[in-house]
């Protein structure tokens, strides 16, 4: 890695909802070109963390530094423009429009005219979305809708891609394809993946961050994390760490 400093960093990032602390003073650091996995039981704060990174939620306290700039308080579309792309947990697409239109709308944020059209076409080819280009997204199967959303994120050529459970609801074959795609895309973008499927993570993970009760429990390579007894306890629900 070039000595450029982290591409994404959070310092003391917290989010409280009334009496509930979803994320507690998280110091997170992501270097350019990384492929990081975020794991942790449900309710550990991963989705809330993602939402703060994209500006959908405003942190209660702390800073989020994107390439050194604090983006707390920035509007979601500004963060999107700065090169953060997110694929949400539940497919978040324009159901009433065609696949082609969805991709075009994504491409149009970066390109105009003919170039946008061909960029959308290129992404469709890459993801083998050709046959369903003129179908309405709302009518597609779950896995296909995931792919459309991934396509939309990719066509924007973001610097950082956040993937919230990209393999959810996919068949083994589709998961493999997704894993391969993620590794390919990693050559040009930094990626953070939230997932539960350990087999999937095994295929892509280098460094893994474990979230628990709004905090980072441990950050290490996949093999170390999977062998760690504390992590196992947390997943099996045997009490948390203070």
């Amino acid at each position: 890695m070039t000595g450029r400093g982290p591409i994404l960093e959070t310092r003391g990032l917290s989010k409280r909802f009334g009496g509930v602390t979803a994320v507690a003073a998280v110091d997170f650091r992501l270097d350019p070109g990384e492929l990081r996995c975020l794991i942790g039981p449900n309710g550990a704060g991963k989705s809330t963390f993602f939402k703060m990174l994209t500006g959908q939620l405003r942190p209660t306290s702390g800073a989020i530094l994107l390439d050194g700039h604090d983006i707390v308080g920035a509007q979601p579309h500004e963060i999107g423009r700065r090169g953060v792309g997110i694929k949400n947990q539940v497919p978040d697409v324009m159901n009433g429009l065609t696949v082609r239109e969805n991709l075009w709308l994504a491409a149009h944020t970066r390109q105009r005219g003919i170039v946008a059209k061909s960029a959308a076409g290129a992404v469709a080819d890459r993801l083998a979305l050709g046959p369903i280009l003129d179908r309405y997204v709302g009518e597609l199967a779950h896995g296909q809708r995931q792919w459309v959303e991934i396509g939309m994120v990719l066509v924007c050529e973001p610097k950082i891609i956040l993937l919230d459970e990209p393999a959810a609801g996919m068949s083994d074959e589709e998961s493999d394809r997704t894993a391969r795609l993620i590794r390919e895309v990693n050559e040009h973008a930094t990626i953070v993946v939230v997932e539960h499927d350990m087999q999937f993570i095994r295929q892509i993970a280098r460094k893994v961050t474990v979230f628990h009760q709004g905090r980072i429990l441990i950050e290490d390579s996949f093999d170390h994390v999977i062998a760690d007894p504390v992590v196992r306890d947390v997943y099996l629900g045997r009490g948390g760490v203070a």
Binding site: Q56, H77, G85, V93, M94, G96, H108, R112, M152, C156
Partner: protein, 345 residues
């Protein structure tokens, strides 16, 4: 490509040849009409075109951008009143015509900014536009006294402003627009706005608007400032409504607080719903139908009109959710499929 989708407000597809044929035929018919049709009918039809413009403004905002605004009649009234006050003061009509459109758009810009950039929920926005319309009407109605004067024109409260000048012809300022002229103008503008809005669906602005309507959050995450687009749509819709208001003043040579009226607003909503809010041609048809129906009922008395309007609204919300035209279109589509299926392979 069904009839439905052709007119629907989410087709980023260029209109087919037969749509252009339809538009051309309509244009020709309208051009030729005054020679065959008597004055009374021309006046009746003109007001339908003008009100159809108002309906189009609402269905554009609602169908494309997903914003339900009850405020279109507020801009309608503001347009009419602006034109009336300015033209009576100035003695000319050409720049008051333009100002009558721009001033309400300015008002829409300010109101819309507060609502849309404040990110208030859709439902609150709808209610606030409703309230603004109500309060505007009340305010205008209360201007009966002689102290309510703009320039040399009294606002006249309940009674409205009479004697609003008809449009002066640009090439001969002594002459004014005749009944024929009003017919041509309103028909032409209605057609232009209809075609314009349909073609807007092809432009990036239109496509982005529809995307925002479908999933605002996703569009923001992609990098679109949805507030800017919604505000632009809000102001554009206000402009179309204001244009209708100015034309109304020209048509009737008269403006009154009734233009802001909630009943008027209700009628606009009903035209759009009856016609089908996801289409553009629907509101035009809806306007015609409801106007004629309303006129016929109007002979029975005010109470009945409101009563029936209310019933129609409830019926269409509960039962015919998509409106007449899409329902008919869907029905025809079903028939078509049945017919094709019955034929031997």
């Amino acid at each position: 490509m069904t009839v439905n989708q052709e007119f629907a407000s989410d087709a980023a597809i260029p209109p087919r040849w037969w749509w252009w044929l339809f538009v051309a035929a309509l244009a020709v018919t309208l051009m030729v009409m005054p020679s065959y049709v008597d004055m009374a009918l021309q006046l009746d039809l003109s007001i339908i075109f003008i009100l159809a413009l108002l309906a189009l403004s609402m269905s554009f905002l609602w169908g494309y951008a997903g914003v339900l605004s009850f405020g279109q009649t507020a801009f309608f009234g503001l347009g009419g009143y602006s034109y009336a006050v300015l033209s009576l003061n100035a003695g000319v009509t050409h720049w008051p015509f333009v100002a009558g459109i721009l001033l309400p758009m300015l008002f829409a810009l300010v109101l819309g900014y507060f609502m849309i950039y404040g990110r208030i929920s859709d439902i609150y926005l709808s209610v606030i536009t409703l309230v603004v319309t109500l309060i505007l009407e009340k305010t205008i109605r209360s201007t009966s006294g002689p102290e309510y004067v703009i320039g040399s024109v009294r606002l006249n409260g309940q009674n409205g402003i009479p004697g609003v000048p008809s449009l002066q012809l640009p090439w001969d300022s002594a002459a004014q627009l005749s009944i024929d002229g009003v017919f041509y103008l309103s028909a032409a503008l209605m057609l232009l706005v209809y075609v314009g809005l349909r073609l807007l669906l092809l432009a990036p602005f239109g496509r982005v608007l529809v995307g925002i309507r479908e999933n605002e959050r996703r569009m923001e995450l992609l990098g679109y400032d949805s507030r800017k687009f919604k505000l632009a749509a809000f102001v554009l819709a206000a402009g179309i409504a204001a244009l209708a208001g100015v034309l109304y003043a020209v048509w009737g040579n008269f403006v009154a607080p009734e233009m802001f009226n909630l009943n008027q607003a209700a009628q606009v909503v009903i035209w759009v719903i009856v016609g089908g809010r996801s289409t553009l041609i629907g509101p035009i048809v809806g306007t015609g139908l409801v106007q004629y129906f309303g006129n016929w009922l109007g002979t029975q008395g005010i109470g009945q009109v409101t009563l029936v309007l209310g019933l129609v609204l409830m019926l269409f919300v509960l039962v015919f959710r998509e409106g007449l035209l899409p329902t008919i279109g869907r029905f025809l589509g079903l028939l078509g499929r049945r017919f094709r299926a019955a034929r031997p392979a």
